[in-house]
């Protein structure tokens, strides 16, 4: 029986930890840790990742629940964005003397 399924012998599951540094900022991934359940993961994350006021809020997600794209930057998933320069403001010529633009 796997630890993720609650096995007693196996390793505690791995959790990914996200911390909101302060109000107004996104939660950002800071690392991972092992814990038996979500509640313990939050408590451990507090001790491991926020010993010096690094955060005001913590999210934990079981690592096995994360679905990831391939990180390879040549990945076709990101290719459609590469040739669409017209999505950027710098694509458009506007005379320099037009105010507030």
């Amino acid at each position: 029986m796997s630890a993720a399924a609650g096995g007693v012998r196996g390793e505690w599951p791995l959790w990914e930890v996200f911390v909101r540094g302060k109000r107004g900022l996104n939660h950002v991934h800071v690392g991972s840790l092992h814990a038996a359940d979500a509640e313990m993961a939050v408590r451990n994350a507090r001790d491991v990742y926020t010993r010096r006021n690094e955060g005001v809020s913590i999210w934990v997600v079981k690592a096995s629940d994360v679905t990831a794209s391939s990180p390879d930057e040549k990945d076709p998933l990101f290719a459609p964005a590469g040739d669409k320069v017209y999505r950027h403001p710098t694509f458009y010529d506007v005379p320099a003397d037009v105010p507030h633009m």
Binding site: L33, H34, R51, D72
Partner: protein, 321 residues
């Protein structure tokens, strides 16, 4: 594309990322040697933090004041945290925590030789902060730019916290140096014992360090052992003067031509012996770690059992609802 061609292209992509000082991330293709080297180095680093709790933890119950006790507790807790950041970085390379713990307590993976020396007086808490953490900082700052993303990110967190470690140590020693003759003698005696082992923390000299060239080509290491050792000596000699202690090396002298301090050669036979397991505390450190792991087994099992029970209860509730 044949598999050989595919492999060649992946290798070329990897080389290009490393060449432009970009970072390799966990799901990227990487050469097997790169992965193995990283696992060995990060694990060794993590083990050092974990074993490193012992020499100083030894003094927590005998701290001379509440202030020193709170500081030492926070510091030892940081070492645990550093170990955990590094274990989690290491796990992104496909090894499990249980495996790493096993390799440590079976003596199949190493940790820094410095932690095999005993702490004989409270001055050692200061000396470790000043010299041992000072050497660690010299080693670790360049590792913030290492080519493997998770390792570099762990190092950034660690370096931020190490600076507290070094400063509290130096402050402790300065306080003792302003005290009685007996306290000053205690500081000097402690520095005499830790100076050479601290220099050995940078590893063997470059001509006896066969892995350095490959590690540098891969961007894992950014400086050679001897370069880092020199940097550490250059930073530390003026600090020792300010503190009023004598570093136990008559060869230390400013060399205007080189723009560096000259210094003597550490006893590399002693270093090799400690690495082989013949240091004063090797057996004790591992036995202690093993005992802590074994005595914690029931806690790990109970927490898992509780989590399983809670999950089952929740599931039952959802089914009946």
């Amino acid at each position: 594309m044949t598999q050989v061609e595919q492999e060649r292209e992946l290798q070329a992509q990897f080389d290009a990322v490393v060449a432009r000082h970009d970072r390799i991330e966990p799901r990227d293709w990487m050469p097997e040697g790169y992965r193995k080297t990283l696992v060995r180095q990060i694990a060794q680093h993590a083990h050092s933090e974990i074993i490193g709790m012992q020499p100083e933890g030894n003094w927590i119950t005998r701290a001379p004041s509440l202030r020193r006790k709170a500081t030492l507790l926070a510091k030892v807790q940081d070492e645990a945290g550093h170990g955990l950041y590094l274990y989690s970085a290491c796990e992104t390379l496909g090894v499990s925590r249980a495996e790493l713990t096993e390799l440590l307590i079976e003596g199949k993976q190493k940790y820094s030789s410095i932690f095999n020396y005993p702490t004989l007086s409270y001055a050692d808490v200061g000396t470790i902060g000043w010299l041992v953490d000072g050497a660690a900082i010299a080693n670790q700052v360049p590792l913030c730019r290492t080519s493997y993303g998770p390792y570099g990110r762990a190092m950034i967190r660690i370096c931020k916290e190490e600076s507290f470690h070094q400063r509290q140590g130096f402050e402790l020693l300065m306080t003792m140096m302003r005290g009685t003759d007996a306290q000053r003698a205690m500081v000097q005696e402690s520095v005499d014992r830790f100076w050479w082992p601290a220099l050995m923390m940078f590893g063997p000299p470059d001509d006896a360090s066969p892995n350095t060239a490959q590690s540098m080509a891969w961007g894992i290491k950014r400086d050679t052992n001897d370069e880092l050792r020199q940097k550490f000596v250059d930073m530390t000699v003026p600090q020792a003067e300010r503190l009023g202690v004598t570093l136990p090396d008559p060869a230390i002298a400013w060399n205007a031509e080189r723009g560096h301090y000259d210094f003597g050669e550490p006893d590399w036979e002693e270093f090799a012996a400690v690495v082989r397991g013949e240091g004063p505390c090797n057996a004790q450190r591992i036995a202690h770690r093993r005992r802590a792991h074994e005595e914690g087994a029931w806690v790990r099992e109970a927490a898992s059992a509780f989590a399983a029970q809670q999950a089952a209860a929740q599931q039952a509730q959802e089914v009946s609802a």
